[in-house]
């Protein structure tokens, strides 16, 4: 099915700070634009309205942060000037908005299932208010002891009553005030942090929520779709990662002529138009444009 030379690139990224208020669809659009700007040879679908072959993992609820989000990108045959996979986290992070940071990149086997099918559970760190810690620990005990937990929630615009207890694989207070750690199953129906917190009592007020890991289970082993410190992170743990995560293989090694400081920088874009005498080119930009900042969440704090 996959045409000659096509590759499957898996990317892992974090979403933190203000940008957590964007939706899953918003993040998909950010990726499409960043991939177009990156110059990567993304493969397109055939047909009337060709679209880039990008598939996203489990949706992250709007308002939640994450240290482990994923997407798979189908790439056409390598280009000579293509950024090496190990360089992609840095190269793509600068093309993405503040708060989205690419943590790892690797080519994965075609035989791998899709992210949506493969991921069985997610770890969460949840912040809650409104109930003292001892009380919270008691409620957690009650939830874990309950044989079933029916929660009324909205699904595709309709109210449904679902038993979420089977999907709560682990739940504990962490020791730091008002913080919980949970592992929630994604199959057959996922449980959102908001559903879980509601099950703890209506007086429990949700604070920040962060997805820390997504887990694939196979043959009794549990591993992440793409680990931190893997081949694409540039760390020296490649060998170990490959052993522990057999679906990850090395990136291609394109012709080094195209990379390095002389390579075209897709984000370089100075002010001003064609006219050298225009105020645009002669003017001064007071501050750097946000899109050129590789760092996450560093502005808008307590002021300058």
């Amino acid at each position: 099915m996959s045409p000659e030379g096509q590759r499957r690139l898996r990317l892992r990224f974090a979403k933190a700070g203000k940008i957590r208020f964007t939706s899953h669809r918003d993040v998909a659009r950010m990726w499409e634009r960043a991939l177009r700007r990156s110059g990567l040879p993304v493969a397109y679908s055939q047909g009337f309205v060709p679209h880039p072959l990008v598939s996203f993992g489990l949706a992250l609820p709007t308002g939640c942060e994450s240290r482990g989000e994923y997407l798979d990108v189908r790439l056409a045959a390598p280009r000579p000037d293509e950024t090496p996979v190990a360089g992609l986290p840095a190269a793509l992070s600068v093309l993405l908005p503040d708060g989205i940071e690419v943590q790892a990149a690797a080519l994965v086997e075609e035989a791998e299932g899709s992210l949506q099918q493969e991921v069985a559970s997610c770890d969460w760190e949840l912040e809650v208010f409104g109930v003292p810690d001892e009380e919270l620990a008691e409620r957690v005990g009650t939830v874990l002891a309950a044989p079933s937990l029916v929660v009324r929630r909205e699904r595709k615009g309709r109210q449904t009553d679902d038993d979420i207890r089977p999907a709560i694989l682990a739940l504990s207070v962490t020791g730091s005030q008002g913080h919980l750690r949970a592992e929630l199953a994604t199959q057959p129906r996922g449980v959102r942090p908001a559903d879980l917190i509601r099950a703890l009592g209506t007086d429990v007020v949700p604070g920040r929520a962060c997805r820390t890991h997504q887990w694939i289970e196979r043959d009794g082993a549990r591993f992440e779709p793409l680990p931190m410190g893997g081949p694409g992170t540039g760390a020296n743990a490649t060998h170990h990662a490959r052993r522990a995560f057999p679906h990850v293989r090395d990136g291609n090694q394109p012709d080094p002529r195209g990379s390095g400081p002389g390579a075209p920088d897709p984000r370089r874009s100075g002010p001003g138009g064609a006219d050298p005498g225009s105020p645009g080119s002669g003017g001064r930009f007071a501050e750097q444009h946000l899109g050129e900042r590789p760092l996450a969440e560093h502005q808008g704090g307590a002021g300058h």
Binding site: K18, I19, F21, T22, S23, R25, D26, R29, M30, E32, R33, A34, L35, R36, R37, Y44, F48, V49, P50, T62, G63, L95, P97, D98, G99, P206, P266, R267, S269, P271, G272, G273, A274, D275, S278, P279, G280, G283, R284, F285, A286, E287, H289, L290, G291, Q299, G300, G301, A302, G303, H304
Partner: protein, 647 residues
């Protein structure tokens, strides 16, 4: 500089589409506030997703932030749920970039693109914590200004706005910054003299300070507007002579969340000389000033590279009229940089087969729908409004579209036009039915949508004297049209709420007394009136009655030649006798041709500013009549002197 972010952040978990309030767009800036820099807050008084793409606001944002003595941030109207949360938590209006409270800015500058947002303007001034009425503001209070097309009748907002800016803003924002900078440095906040500021602002060309003008009424009717000593009797709009000097926005804002028009926009020209008599934009933005084609190509290439968009719209009032449009479009589509994946859209297509041919070339993939705007249902009607599209032009365009693979055609019409007869309204259904018939020759299933809006006569157009139809009359005409179209499979009639057109008439045609009406509607909870689920005509009717005014007096009554109009002291450069003459021509069904290719009608727009129409080519565009019925068969002879950019 204080930021409200920690307090805003707490509200966002519970509101719809919270990404509207976080800023962080690519291209947005984090300017440093401090003495010596005049802080502007550019406000679009509608939701973020509608306001963010606004090109005027983005242009001024860049120009101001390039100045060493200015800085600019942006704000949009928070949606109803967010506003309630903000008021509950005592959080004022804030900028999206750094969440700085609006009242901490020196200038609050509103973009007025539509009249139904006026109640939002009041709401935002109030939400900012700035005194609502200009008369109540002192030396420490933020200056509230407004610009945009609606500023050409500023009177309905005159009580709330310190100064209006008329016409192109590129140059005048710098002059305003200088005046503000001097005033801010003149004394401690409480000791600053607001009257001195008003006088200084009124000395700027194109700046209208309503407090310096007094309307006079006799027997409940406006009879004139008198300037204070020293204030100009007439305030004339600003016009930049060369769009090529202003290649903005150079760093278009790329939003993090979904907005309308999520694509790159490049303005190819300003102004229009088609002379459609109903069109305020076409009248108040004259003369035509084209951007050099090379600069258009450059802005497209840089903009796509910068933004990662895969669609670019070439914007103007009639983009197919841009000289050399075909070459420009082809260059963009064929640019190897774009890998064949960039589509170009021309938001305003001219109605002729020739144009559709160009469209076919550029929309190789997404051939879903095409839109044309014949505006009137019969040739008689179209000669009155000077939209000179023949039936042959329209059918040729539609045939061309259906035969080349399009399956949906949308047609825009107005109803409630001057001299309109029922047969003109029914003509809309007949045109639509004929278009469906043509489509069936090429495709099994075709859709023709006729979208019908109620006409609102606007200031500074030849129709400014016309009394608009009542909501009941517009509704009758819609019903008539729907009944006529009922039997035609494939033809869909869509219409705008007639009562919303009437409210738009109040806000766009009223004199200064309309301010109290708008304030009442706002106090009764009438924000977001351009949103159908929020619009309520009864709020407007009750407010009118309470102020002793009537719909009949403001909207439905035809004005006489010698009657004082609320905007008589405002000038878009058009001679009043030109407009009156064109109104009389309309009533006599005399049409005028595009003045780029005929002798000058002396409307005043060129001569008044010492300009000519600036076009990229001195040769009339190829393609025959251009859908205007104008005869260009005489060898493309150009009777007026044109400034050419192409050697």
């Amino acid at each position: 500089m204080q930021t409200l972010w920690p307090r805003v952040e707490r509200l966002l978990q519970g509101v719809s589409k919270p990404a509207r309030y976080i800023g962080g767009e690519q291209g947005s800036l984090q300017p440093v506030h401090g003495p010596g820099r005049v802080a502007w807050l550019l406000v679009y008084p509608d939701t973020y997703e509608i306001g963010l793409p606004n090109q005027g606001l983005q242009i001024l944002y860049e120009i101001l932030n390039e100045r060493p003595d200015a800085l600019a941030e942006r704000a949009y109207a928070p949606w109803v749920d967010m506003e309630a949360a903000m008021r509950e938590a005592d959080v004022p209006l804030f900028s999206v970039e750094q969440h700085v409270p609006a009242a901490a800015f020196d200038v609050l500058a509103f973009n007025l693109s539509a009249e139904l947002v006026y109640t939002n303007v009041l709401n935002l001034v109030d939400l900012a914590g700035i005194p609502l009425h200009a008369a109540d503001r002192g030396g420490a209070d933020t200056l509230v200004i407004a610009g945009g097309h609606c500023a050409f009748n500023p009177e309905p907002l005159a009580d709330f706005v310190d100064a209006f800016v008329l016409g192109d803003g590129e140059e005048v924002v710098g002059e305003l910054t200088e005046v503000m900078g001097e005033w801010l440095a003149s004394a401690e906040p409480a000791a600053r003299d607001r009257a001195a500021l008003r006088a200084a602002l009124a000395r700027l060309e194109g700046v209208y300070v309503p407090a310096l003008y007094t309307p006079r009424y006799e027997d409940g009717r406006l009879v004139g507007t008198e300037p204070a000593p020293g204030a100009p009797p007439e305030v004339v709009k600003r016009t930049i002579s060369d769009l090529g000097d202003w290649p903005y926005p150079a760093h278009p804002l790329v939003p993090l969340t979904e907005v309308v028009h999520d694509r790159l926009n490049v303005e190819v020209f300003r102004g229009c000389t088609r002379g459609c008599r109903f069109c305020q934009a076409g009248m108040i933005t004259r003369p035509v000033r084209e951007r050099p084609a090379a600069q258009v190509r450059d802005m497209v290439r840089r903009g796509l590279e910068w933004s990662g968009h895969d669609e670019v719209a070439l914007t103007s009032l009639s983009s197919a009229d841009f000289s050399g449009i075909e070459e420009t479009v082809r260059d963009i589509v064929d640019d190897p940089e774009h890998d064949g994946r960039v589509s170009v859209s021309l938001p305003s297509l001219r109605v002729d087969a020739f144009t559709v041919g160009t469209a076919a070339e550029i929309q190789k993939v997404r051939r879903t729908g095409l839109t044309f705007a014949p505006e009137g249902g019969t040739w008689r009607m179209r000669t009155v409004i000077n939209k000179l599209i023949t039936e042959e032009d329209l059918y040729g365009a539609v045939e061309s579209a259906f035969s080349q693979g399009w399956r949906r055609v949308k047609l825009y019409f107005l109803i409630g036009l001057p001299t309109e007869l029922d047969e003109d309204v029914l003509g809309i259904a007949h045109l639509g039915a004929r278009c469906v018939e043509i489509g069936r020759r090429y495709q099994k299933s075709v859709t023709v949508v006729a979208s019908v809006g109620g006409f609102v006569p606007k200031a500074h157009t030849p129709f400014q004297w016309f009394g608009m139809d009542s909501a009941a009359e517009l509704e009758r005409k819609v019903a008539l049209l729907r009944a006529e179209a009922k039997g035609t499979r494939g033809l869909t009639i869509r219409w705008h709420d007639p009562s919303a057109s009437v409210a738009e008439g109040l806000a766009s045609r009223g004199d200064r007394r309309m301010g109290a009406v708008i304030e009442r509607v706002w106090r009764a909870g009438g924000t977001f009136q351009e949103w159908s689920e929020r619009f309520d005509l009864t709020l407007w009717e009750e407010a009118l009655a309470a102020e002793g005014l009537s719909l009949e007096e403001v909207c439905h009554r035809e004005r006489a030649e010698d009657e004082a109009l609320p905007w008589d002291h405002i000038s878009a450069g058009l001679h009043r006798d030109f407009l009156w003459g064109d109104w009389q021509d309309a009533l006599a069904r005399v049409s005028v041709e595009d003045c780029r290719w005929t002798p000058c009608y002396d409307c005043g727009a060129c001569t008044g500013f010492g300009l000519e129409h600036v076009v990229a080519s001195a040769v009339p565009p190829a393609g025959g009549s251009q859908g205007t019925g104008q005869d260009l068969a005489n060898g493309g002879r150009v009777p007026v002197q044109l400034v050419s950019r192409v050697s």
